[in-house]
């Protein structure tokens, strides 16, 4: 037996020798990366010009990087032009700040694909164009992995300038794969310290500040991953988006003067007997469909070749017909498509004329490449005529993310969307289709356009986003909503905000009205959960300071929750304050338990360790807290968790 171990040791210590040429080129490329990080290293920026809640994955990279000594900025002047092209392929519209990070990873991508050669850098728009014409179903990961390998083997043989669509497609895959790899590695960098960095010691940092987030993209992505059995990097799970997918029926505000209610409850943590969960629920006032002002909607529909997939254009058409059913007769609808060239398919038409609208929707067909910018401009042009007619107008962009031809300056486009927001036209984004790597752009666009980003994977999801929550998605009731929680060190020794990692704000940003934050639509609710450790609990992870400042023991308050928001269009924020004690119990047990189950499950899914507590426990807890569940969302969650639990046991 020991012989076998020795045999295994010998075999493992002498693997087939690594390829010498590849070793040399990888080392050279790595060195280049190193030099780039040095040359352009700059100190961390103040939070104010941080990309507000745009590009989440990239924000994470940002966080990772800014946690380190300094921020590497890798935008090398000489390769800038080419890098921009690559950025256009993957994420055509990003904020300026995002772009910096993108480029840092793209340096790596280029090097990875062709270490030591400049061929990839010669890729041009023309070369990339065929991509959009080919229907590009997401390849299975295994195939993609093989392609990467083939790609590296083909490298030497491939002519420098190729018009071969297949080859180009492979490059695209390669880039996406690599982008993902890079991203995954970057996030794993947190692996050893993630838990610790999530934990705050009250004596050191008594105040926690973050921006709200009403997006739900992570949940839809996770559902697709469970049902289709294709792997999702755990980093794609943003816990807050999982939690906020569900409606928790917090009490509704009585009047529009204070547009929110704040509900707080303290409960036992199922996965740690020594800690408590403090759930904060915010609910915005709802507007009945008949009470909302008439609205103009411009559907900006991506009809590029890549949309030719049952889960894309056909689903999109069905989704929009669902939305039509919720509109009032006075609302107007227009349709603009973009593919190759942009075109107005339907001039502004009263929603009452359903036949005309449905007919126009029906005639849409997918083909050609994507001229996103021209489409966006036309859509805004139509929306502005609606504003002139006295309606509030919104552009609804529906795409799989192939926003990749015709955009020369993502920065300008971002500004364009933001400027149009000032004229009263907002922008919401609906994502369709699998293998969609452009979550980043969708989020960035919607944020800059004061809108909502949602991901539609099934007709049921369309029903939820476009019918059940239509007023919330279409009508913003408060902007720049920030939450700040101050903990009392005498009562709470440690705390951890579950999720919202990408939404953290600096303490001083809370009172700074210039710092942007998330918006909330009519009837939306937002839930945040803190795991807190009461002072003296065995669950304390950090020893108390011997010479720490003596806490004020007079108060039995655990925490003080402050909420800042602006009325739409206002420049000055309003403040809502709520004290919390151990006995605070303002949320129904079913609601608390269900949110807890979702939060725990989400943490498990993204690979966090909750001791003995497993997905099966999450399922049990969720099953006990189904409540009324009129739309079946909680039931669906329960089924998915059970399925995921079964999958993880294999």
């Amino acid at each position: 037996m020991t012989d076998d171990l020795d045999k295994l040791r010998d075999a493992l210590q002498s693997p087939p020798a690594p390829d010498a040429a590849r070793r040399a080129s990888v080392m050279a490329a790595a060195q280049e990366n190193f030099d780039a990080t040095q040359e352009f290293a700059t100190p961390a920026r103040p939070t104010k010009d941080r990309p507000h809640s745009a590009g989440r994955i990239w924000t994470r990279m940002f966080d990772m990087v800014s946690n380190a000594i300094s921020r590497p900025v890798l935008m090398a002047g000489s390769s800038l032009a080419v890098l921009m092209i690559a950025a256009v392929v993957i994420t055509p519209m990003v904020t300026k700040d995002d772009l910096v990070v993108h480029d840092s990873s793209l340096v790596g991508i280029h090097n990875m694909v062709t270490p030591g050669t400049g061929r990839e850098r010669a890729a041009t728009d023309a070369e990339l164009a065929p991509l959009a014409m080919e229907p590009a179903p997401a390849p299975s990961d295994a195939i993609a992995a093989k392609r990467v390998r083939q790609q590296s083997e083909m490298m030497e043989a491939r002519p420098a300038a190729t018009g071969n669509a297949l080859t180009t497609l492979n490059q695209q895959d390669t880039r996406l794969m690599r982008l993902d790899t890079d991203n995954a590695i970057a996030i794993d960098d947190r692996f050893p310290t993630f838990e610790k960095s999530g934990l705050s010691v009250t004596a050191e940092t008594p105040v926690s500040t973050f921006s709200v987030d009403v997006d739900t993209t992570s949940y839809a992505l996770w559902r697709m991953s469970v049902l289709d059995g294709y792997p999702l990097p755990p980093e794609a799970i943003r816990v807050e988006e999982m939690i906020n997918y569900f409606d928790y029926a917090y009490p509704a505000p009585g009047s529009t003067e204070v547009p929110f209610t704040t509900s707080v409850a303290v409960t036992q943590t199922p996965w740690n007997p020594g800690t408590r969960l403090m759930q904060i629920g915010i609910h915005g006032y709802d507007v009945a469909p008949q009470d909302r002002p008439p609205m103009g909607l411009v559907f900006l529909i991506d009809t590029s070749g890549s949309m030719n997939d049952p889960k894309k254009l056909p689903l999109l058409k069905k989704s929009f017909s669902l939305l039509l059913g919720t509109l009032r007769d006075e609302d107007t609808v227009a349709i603009v498509t973009y593919a190759g060239s942009a075109g107005t398919v339907l001039e502004p038409t009263q929603a009452a004329d359903e036949a005309a609208i449905l007919g126009a929707l029906d005639r849409l067909g997918a083909g050609g490449s994507t001229a996103g910018q021209a489409g966006l401009q036309q859509a805004y042009g139509l929306a502005e005529t609606m504003v002139e007619a006295g309606q509030s107008a919104r552009v609804i962009l529906a795409t799989d993310g192939d926003f990749n031809v015709g955009i020369s300056d993502p920065d300008a486009l971002r500004d364009y969307v933001a400027t149009k927001r000032e004229t009263g036209v907002s922008l919401s984004v609906l994502g369709f289709g699998r293998g969609n790597y452009t979550d980043t752009i969708m989020q960035a666009l919607a944020q800059n356009g004061n809108g909502v980003a949602a991901y539609i994977d099934t007709l049921a999801e369309a029903q939820k986003v476009l019918v059940e929550e239509v007023t919330g998605s279409l009508m913003t009731i408060a902007s720049d909503v920030k939450i700040q929680v101050e903990f009392n060190p005498a009562q709470i020794s440690e705390y951890r905000l579950i999720g919202y990692e990408t939404r953290a704000l600096n303490r001083e940003d809370f009172n700074d009205d210039r710092v942007d934050a998330g918006d909330i639509g009519a009837g939306h609710s937002v839930t945040a959960i803190y795991e807190v450790t009461p002072a003296g609990s065995e669950a304390e992870l950090v020893d108390p300071l011997r010479y720490g400042t003596a806490p004020d023991t007079a108060s039995d308050e655990w925490a003080f929750v402050k909420l800042r928001y602006k009325q739409p269009g206002a420049d000055e924020s309003q403040l809502i304050e709520t004290p919390v004690t151990a006995g605070t119990n303002g949320i129904a047990p079913d609601v608390v338990n269900f949110a807890t189950a979702v939060a725990g499950a989400a943490r498990l899914i993204r690979g966090e360790d909750l001791g003995d507590w497993s997905l099966s426990d999450a399922a049990t807890l969720a099953a006990s807290a189904q409540g009324a569940d009129p739309f079946g969302h909680r039931g669906e969650f329960l089924r998915l968790v059970r399925l995921a639990a079964a999958q993880s046991e294999n």
Partner: protein, 181 residues
């Protein structure tokens, strides 16, 4: 180590922007990275892919190295994470378990100087679960102590000891099968 400068000193020099230190560090550890990746993945091409990913990301990632652990421990963790990502992306875990080194058999068995030994390695590694493979790749492949392996994999030393006993069991079963064939 070939010279007196420790990894940790090199890492410090890298942090202060010393490009030669970075190059020395890469030179010193490239094979280690590759060997560990190979141990976990079992295919030369996969191992080289992961090695490439790790090396190209190293300049940025080193900024996150705070020196709480030994550099090799930290590096092992980085490689294990990258390899796990690679597995996650290329196929489901279950499939990988079945396919450990399949490519390798096809491509390199003939060229391999010691084909029999490689065959045995394929069979042995294929018999182990991913977590056991990670464990042996560290303990046997990199001569890590059980304590180091525990730190890298984020489990207790007891778990590592248990996994090694599982490995012995699996190898014994394999040996028994060979005997009976």
């Amino acid at each position: 180590m070939r010279d007196k400068v420790t990894d940790e000193e090199l890492a410090k020099a890298v942090a202060s922007g010393d490009g030669r230190a970075f190059s020395a560090l890469l030179e010193r550890h490239y094979d280690r990275i590759y060997r560990l990746a190979y141990g976990v993945l079992g295919a030369k091409a996969d191992a080289e892919d992961v090695t490439q990913d790790v090396c190209l990301g190293l300049a940025q990632k080193l900024r996150g190295f705070q020196g709480q652990s030994r550099l090799t421990t930290w590096l092992h963790r980085v490689v294990i994470n990258a390899a796990r990502d690679h597995i996650r992306r290329s196929t489901t875990r279950a499939k990988t378990a079945a396919q450990w080194g399949e490519d390798e058999i096809n491509r390199h068995a003939i060229a391999c100087e010691d084909a029999a030994a490689q065959d045995w390695l394929q069979a042995a590694m294929a018999a182990l679960s991913p977590s056991l493979r990670e464990t042996v790749a560290l303990i046997l492949g990199q001569d890590c102590t059980q304590g180091e392996a525990a730190e890298v994999l984020g489990v207790s030393e007891g778990t590592i000891a248990w996994r090694m006993s599982e490995v012995k069991k699996a190898l014994a079963t394999l040996a028994a099968q060979e005997m009976s064939e």
